[in-house]
């Protein structure tokens, strides 16, 4: 098999060799190079650059515990469970997809039929000691119920202590204030979702 197409990394003809001066080989050449480097003032360029930065005083330090960078929406930290905007009820419908897809087997859930004969989640735990924060659960969730949050300041003796189910749920006060943040990461609704919607093919 001819592998030249794979080995030839020159994707087009715009590559060219950088013009590098030949290294001097004799003493006179080296002497000339020393003289040139000495009087070209390169050292002062370096001095000027750092002085300029000092005078501009454009400081990039973030004093972390006092100041924080905004965390990206796709950051995958400890999970959150969202509530429905309309009724403040839990979004989770107990389908069990997250438990099935979880590749580190850390999600464990139990469901039952409640008095209105609706499926209800009776138990839901995430073993954060095993979780690898891959984001599959958030991607697979059809209701956007389980998502990843942005909270990265966890401290405990064990990772299991970071959060429990009630801690993951959006607090009701936040719902009354309308402050629940929608998730923009894996599996979230993209901006053009309406245009891409098709009718459900029912005629199987």
């Amino acid at each position: 098999m001819n592998t030249q197409a794979f080995n030839d990394r020159n994707v087009n003809d715009s590559y060219y060799m950088v013009d590098i001066e030949e290294y001097p080989t004799d003493g006179w050449g080296r002497f000339k190079r020393v003289i040139k480097r000495t009087f070209r003032g390169e050292l002062f360029v370096g001095l000027w650059v750092v002085l300029r930065e000092m005078l501009k005083f454009n400081i990039h330090t973030i004093q972390y515990p006092l100041e924080k960078m905004p965390i990206g929406p796709r950051y995958r930290a400890v999970h959150e469970m969202k509530r429905l905007w309309e009724s403040d009820a839990e979004r989770c419908i107990g389908c069990g997809l997250c438990e099935k897809i979880c590749i580190s087997n850390c999600i464990k859930m139990d469901t039952k039929i409640d008095e209105n004969s609706r499926k209800e989640v009776s138990e839901y735990t995430i073993n954060l000691g095993r979780c690898i924060f891959c984001g599959y659960c958030a991607e697979v969730c059809p209701e956007l119920a389980i998502t990843h949050g942005g909270e990265y300041e966890n401290g405990s003796e064990q990772r299991e202590h970071y959060i429990d189910y009630n801690g993951m749920l959006t607090p009701l006060e936040m719902m009354t204030q309308g402050k629940q943040q929608e998730f923009e990461g894996f599996g979230a609704i993209t901006p053009h979702e309406d245009a891409r919607m098709k009718k459900t093919p029912l005629a199987y």
Partner: protein
């Protein structure tokens, strides 16, 4: 007279020791701040307003840290080495006139501990002795990196001392004295030595300035404590205040050489007025700042490059410079 002289000298020694020990500490603060600003960082910010008390925090840490003498080191030499660095740095200050003479309560004060007639020779000699600190400390440490660093220090030492000595010969020939006060008087009459004798003074100034970087072991020639090996060269086995003494010695040396350069070449304190004194302090501040500035801007050179520079470039220039000075003065 003898008792009064003795008391005056002791007071001056104590004042210089206190001021420059404190300045060495504050010097580290300035260094960290200026380096940080040049690298678009903030530097120490948390201890005190704008991190001003960082020096005190470092001092407390250094003083209270356990003083470890590792097994296998040559203990007496290991213990005395930091003291050599710090004490010689301060001993060199004895012949430096820090300010012009002034009157206080009708009593004339000469802000120089001893105006000996071999002033500059004494200063450079004692500063040279200061190299025994890193050298002995590195050799006594029973650590190959310390030993390498000591060997580098010795190599650097014999290179730059030649340049230092030869570069100030031309100014000494002009002045005809080794006392820094005589240097000042000469420059008051004949103008700054930098501009004297058709550029000979300027070349001597540049040579001495370059050698001062090697003398204090600052960045382009920071070869004694080599950053390339990640560890601190001769200071690897040191901890606590013994390491701190090396540090104080280094910074005191920086301040003293920043005094010596303007006194030798840039007119010193001029006519001895308050303005002249402030001008001297301004020049000192510039030279100290330049040490930090260069550290932010330039990379270190290799030991062989430093020796190439000293032996093959600077020393011939210095010798030719002396000859030129002699010919012109005849």
């Amino acid at each position: 007279m003898e008792v009064a002289y003795l008391i005056e000298t002791v007071i001056k020694v104590v004042v210089i020791l206190l001021i420059f020990s404190a300045l060495a500490g504050i010097g580290t603060y300035f260094e960290r701040k200026i380096l940080a600003f040049m690298q678009r960082r903030l530097g120490p910010m948390n201890v005190g307003p704008y991190g001003l008390l960082q020096v005190a925090a470092d001092g407390i840490k250094l003083f209270t840290k356990e003083d470890i003498i590792p097994s296998g080191v040559v203990a007496p030499i290991f213990k005395i080495a930091p003291v050599i660095t710090a004490s010689t740095a301060f001993m060199a200050a004895a012949a430096i006139p820090f300010l012009p003479q002034f009157e206080i309560f009708g009593y004339t004060v000469h802000p120089i501990v001893a105006d000996i007639n071999i002033g500059i020779l004494y200063i450079l000699g004692i500063m040279g002795v200061g190299l025994y600190g890193p050298l002995l400390g590195g050799m006594a440490s029973a650590n190959k990196f310390s030993l390498l660093s000591a060997a580098r220090g010795a190599a650097v030492f014999i290179s730059y001392e030649v340049v230092t000595g030869l570069s100030i010969l031309a100014p000494i020939m002009m002045v005809g004295s080794l006392s820094l006060i005589d240097f000042n008087e000469y420059q008051l009459e004949n103008g700054w030595i930098v501009f004297n004798l058709y550029g000979v003074g300027f070349i001597a100034f540049i040579l001495f300035w370059i050698a001062a970087f090697a003398e204090t072991g600052r960045t382009p020639f920071h070869l004694i404590a080599n950053d390339h090996e990640i560890i601190d060269g001769f200071g690897t086995e040191y901890s606590g205040m013994r390491w701190g003494l090396f540090f104080i010695g280094e910074y005191a040396n920086m301040f003293f050489i920043s005094f010596v350069i303007p006194l030798l070449f840039l007119g010193g304190y001029g006519d001895g007025s308050i303005l002249g004194a402030l001008a001297l302090l301004g020049k000192v501040a510039f030279f100290f700042f330049f040490f930090l500035w260069v550290r932010a801007a330039w990379p270190d050179v290799r030991p062989d490059q430093l020796m190439w520079l000293c032996w093959k470039v600077l020393m011939p220039i210095a010798v030719v410079n002396i000859l030129l000075a002699a010919i012109i003065m005849i």
